[in-house]
Symmetry: C2
Subunit: 399 residues, 2 copies
């Protein structure tokens, strides 16, 4: 499925093994390079403890002249102080030199262990070597996606096309997900490229819009990473400019499609998870209230273990809504799981527990619909179950 | 240790099996009765989805004429609508009739499965039968504590004495903890009795003070129960009145001692836990900021699994502080685990990982000290690790 994800026009990529990861011959360096200057925007972790690459890239965005992104896996360069900042800037300079641009026009991201300094000698050699391998092929894109992975079990790529000014433009992205090789942190990194032409403002606005309903609507374990970064690069190589309201709407929809595909892939590949959970909270006063309720449910270990055990334990779901901090009454809530009505306007509904449990056991995808009576606010949120494998992956390791 | 916890003067208790629990011959009904009218106060769950007994007891408190508390385990009478409220009130009437008081002077609490109606026929027979068994002995107190248990592995009792107006007064309490028999909710219930004489205001104020630094500073899994209730009854049977500032201070300290002992017993008995974690956050601008940071750390599944795995993964701890929502810089933080300095003023400290890991493996009690540089705010917070056993207990069950 992912083997043939094409790049937008004017972008080339590489996935390279430079030797940051000690274990196995794994790719650990990804390059994303544009032939032309790009408008670029980013959305980053709001964690006040954030990686050096987050600080460096955030300072450089948005901008109108971005040319490349360099990403390493195996070391997040987080909690590494001044030396970490110097190393992150050096990574961008190494790539800038190879492609003949200002280092300010190169962005950087890192994922992996926290609190260790980057092995710069490896990157000093690796980045120039990787730069020689960049190519415009789907194969190079796949390798770049693989080089971002930590314990992700599959590479995550997505692409969409849309007609703008009579021309077909393309949006393609790659991300890595919530997988930790202990003692690493879950870290989500994503690069999205397009050959459409966008203003800097539009790049930032449309990326924020897309992220709000995709990457900001997923939770594996509620622990916000130090390194989360989503970057959008638009190089205009298609010759089509996204300017009119109509074109912006069409582009936004295509960007949303790519972002949702990549974000939900992270949940599909969530550490130790047996179930992919789509949570629809509707009927709230506004979208924010739906979001807060959804996140409270998604982050409850009791809800997550119930899903793991195929237990239609609706009390855990409505009680997690109850402590979300949003004003509500029990009688305002109706709950449907996998199409089975379990709780209606505050009253338990008689249901066949064995049948609902079977549905939860037999389907990897679980749909939870919580309907309120307050208004037309709603959100779609994705999460996963909490399993013994998750605990194993994150506990059975010693630094 | 707990077998000989004495009751304060003028209180009698009973633990009885009336048959709410289907499994095994377990006690499931606890009575706490005072010979004299008590000033009484309560602190309850803030979950908007709360049990019927919470609504009934909360409405009756604080008051100056309370006489008894009736508690059942095996069914939380939560999410049961109007019928649940009627049943909870009926439980108080049944006990009131036996002891010859107004039913308004009886409080009620329930713990167990959510969303099922109470088996009232069992309680109609059980409460009068149990009322005939109340006694002033430590044995009856132990049985009352046992009758509150769900999957708690040990009964939780505590007592303290303090001199007030030259007389020794006693404070004794029993609680049950964060143990779930699937599909039950973790539910914390606590009754504290004293033979001191207190005003209604003082009863409420001092209970709130104690709860803030004990029951409100523990977290097993961050899922706030529908049924949490802590009740303090003061019957004045000692003849000593807690009125002067000095006496209030002495009483508060003794009440704190009882509350902290009971609250930490809940963590000692937390479901599936291997480690008891004491988290000291100090040097914040105020107590609230310390609390928010501590809770963010305590509720992170990544922190909890690291402790389970004896992994000195300090990055998970400081990053959980980073997303707590309190303004801070990495350089403001210093972290010490079990006496080992791991992170100092934003810089990783070289340490012997094997030695720290051994300390985590060999000690059931883990101490985490996070020191900030903002002021003199601080909090002590207790939590536990997240283990495969926790997931098993809460997942490997089907309703």
């Amino acid at each position: 499925m992912t083997e043939q994800t094409p790049l937008p026009a004017g972008f080339s990529t590489a996935g390279f093994r430079c030797g940051i990861k000690n274990d196995a011959p794994k790719l650990d360096l990804a390059l994303f390079v544009s032939d032309h200057p790009c408008t670029a925007a980013g959305v980053f972790t709001t964690n006040l403890v954030c990686g050096a690459p987050v600080k460096v890239s955030r300072d450089r965005l948005p901008r109108a002249t971005a040319r490349a992104v360099v990403i390493n896996s195996g070391n997040s360069n987080a909690a590494t102080g001044e030396r970490g900042l110097k190393d992150a800037r050096r990574m961008t300079a190494l790539l800038a030199e190879q492609i003949g641009v200002s280092s300010e026009d190169v962005l950087v991201a890192s994922t992996g262990v926290i609190g260790r300094f980057l092995p710069m000698e490896v990157l000093e050699a690796g980045i120039p070597a990787a730069a020689k391998e960049v190519a415009k092929s789907p194969e190079s894109f796949l390798k770049a996606a693989q080089a971002m992975m930590t314990t992700d079990t599959f590479p995550k790529l997505a692409t969409a096309t849309v007609k703008i000014q009579g021309r077909e433009i393309r949006i393609s992205g790659a991300c890595k997900g919530a997988a930790m090789i202990a003692p690493n942190m879950a870290t989500m990194l994503c690069v999205i490229m397009t050959d459409a032409k966008l203003s800097v403002d539009a790049t930032q606005t449309m990326l924020r819009n897309s992220v709000q309903d995709s990457f900001n609507c997923i939770s594996v374990d509620g622990h916000e990473s130090t390194s989360d970064s989503v970057v959008l690069l638009a190089n205009g190589a298609s010759g089509a400019e996204v300017a009119s309201a109509e074109d912006q709407k069409a582009f936004q929809a295509a960007l949303d499609e790519v972002a949702v595909k990549l974000a939900t892939d992270i949940i599909r590949d969530a550490e130790g998870a047996h179930h992919f959970v789509e949570l629809n909270v509707t009927g709230t006063r506004n979208r924010d209230e739906a979001f807060v309720i959804a996140k409270s449910i998604a982050d409850s270990p009791l809800v997550k273990t119930a899903i793991c055990g195929a237990d239609p334990n609706w009390g855990r779901i409505i009680s997690a809504a109850g402590y979300a901090g949003i004003p509500l009454l029990e009688t305002d809530m109706t709950l449907v799981i996998n199409g089975f009505l379990l709780y209606e306007s505050g009253t338990p509904v008689a249901f066949d527990a064995a049948q609902v449990s079977k549905s939860l056991r037999d389907n990897r995808v679980v749909t939870i619909d919580l309907k309120l009576t307050h208004g037309s606010g709603k959100v779609r949120f994705w999460t996963c179950d909490l399993t013994k494998e998750y605990v194993e992956l994150n506990a059975d390791y010693t630094t």
